[in-house]
Amino acid sequence: MKILTDLRTNVRKPRFYFLILVLIVLLFIPFFQTSLYVIHVLILMFFFISYSSSWNLLAYSGQVSFGHAAFLGIGAYATTLFTIQTSLSFLGILMGALVSALVGFLIGLTCVRLREWFLALVTFGFSIIMIALTIEFNWITGGTLGLVVPKLFPTISQYQYYFHYYYVMLALAIFLVFVFYFIIKSKIGLAFAAIRENELEAKATGIDVVKYRLLAFTISAFFTGLTGAFYAHFIGYINHQIYDPSNSFWPIIITVIGGLATIEGPVIGSVLRFFILEFLRMIEPWVRTIGPGMITIYPKVQLLLFGVILVAVIILMPKGISPWLRKYLMLKR
């Protein structure tokens, strides 16, 4: 019960009250902010927190996947197909996560023995293979036309659906951040960290490297599948584009900017992504006055900016923003 005592000592810290304050604000946002757009963007932010946290769990054991969209998509497709057949949505979500974990286990069997960039290549390749499989088996998956996902709460209006889903995704994000916290504070997390820091030394200490890396792969795939299942219910429609490389790259960008292999990394990264995108949207009318060509160029400039930020973060502060934030906000232990 070391985790519980750890939690209890944290309660007295100022950062704990800060966290509670943020949570209360988040809980009450839908009551004050009735703009559907803001709710939509916040739901996407929670989605990226959950998705990046699941990805970060794998990165915590030193394995960087370049194709996590594969697990996201498998979770989404599995839950959709199950829900269409049986109309049990909540069981379907669990099924999505389980199928994703199974596939993650099988791919993990290949990946755990590979070097970093072999692993990046294999996971990326797997997400590309999933695109081909999805289009090929179009009598199951709907091919390029995709599938319409049954709603999680079927009886309510679209407007209310967003507000309900806000709390669902918020709960998912909080749940996954806590899962990450509990895992890294446990013995398993210690083994993951040891493997990440030095594989050879970890092996010498008696850690079964292959077993723990496989475990990390399976857990990460499980939670990515879970996120994918909720995501599918939210957007209401899936096709092969869910396996798109950009979907695989976002959690990497978010987590690395926030802080690789830290609890707060995905959260900081997602919030920062949210603010950057909103800021760019705010100055868009001003940008359009520069010239008529700006309408097509502007979305590219946004992604260009994220690329530049990622490169700058890797070169200038390889640990991401989180250590810097800890120092200046006095939230360090």
């Binding site: 030193g62 960087v64 370049f66 069997l109 290949t110 023995r113 590979l114 070097r115 970093e116 960039w117 072999f118 990046a120 290549l121 294999v122 990326f124 390749g125 797997f126 590309i128 293979i129 695109i131 081909a132 499989l133 289009i135 090929e136 050879l200 490389p245 790259f249 990497i252 960008i253 690395v256 690789l260 097509t296 160029i297 590219k300 400039v301 992604l303 260009l304 994220f306 690329g307 530049v308 930020i309 990622l310 490169v311 890797i314 070169i315 390889p318």
Partner: protein, 297 residues
Amino acid sequence: MKRLPLAISLPTLIQILIWGLIVGCIYVLLASGLNLIFGVMKVVNFAHGEFMIMGGYVSYWVSILEGLNPYLSIFVSMIIVGAVGILTERICFHQVLGTSKLNELILSLGLIYVLQNAMSVLWTDYPVLIDSPFKNIIVEFGIVRMRLDWLIVIGITVLVMAGFYILIRKTKIGRAMRATSQNRVAAMLMGINVERINMFSFGLGTALAATAGTLLAITTSITPYAGEIPALKAFTIIILGGLGSPLGAVVGGLAYGLVESCAVTILGGTWRDAVGFAILILVLIVRPTGLFGEKEK
């Protein structure tokens, strides 16, 4: 299920093989450049395909603005993209060299975003095809019919690879590059300026990619986003052909082009990108260090 074309006539088969050869030539150039960079610097550069596309666009620009023959504009493109490559090496990869492989991977991911979107801003998203002056000429040898452009593409690849071989094998800087790739510290002790060798190899690798990009833009067409997957395929090729083995990159590139061309005909266009990765995964299941990979600690 769609019907598989089981009976392929001989002319069709020859067309498939020729097309495989053309695609293979582009992969050979791309994989050789990557192999050189990986061999000398031990850097994994997933953004290599973006340099290829940049080469295509620069050639397009030069051939449109200056009215230069696109095949001659390859030289201009090689120089410009090589310079951009050296600049990238100085600004980005040099800073993270020797820290950790993950940093290099994520850095190259950031570069993919930067270069793709910069090219998209400069040249828009519409597919670009370089207009070759020989596009209507078709040559025939018996039952083999092909565009003159395709012959020139094969010829240029052979020439460039021959030049590359001579540079690596016969010149002083080539020997220095080989020495650096074998043992970095020993090369340093022998008085080789390793940093300059790094710059030169990165420039040369990206210049080879620029050639590949020009040939790609002449034979098919390019968009700013077309480089991402070919670069990862080129990595597949050098893993399958043996890391750091120049012959492996050539043979692997040609074989990969042929396999891809056959797979597209038999399985359909959706499998174009997937088939190579499927082979890669199957090979890595059996041999986690690659087909000819040496046992590493």
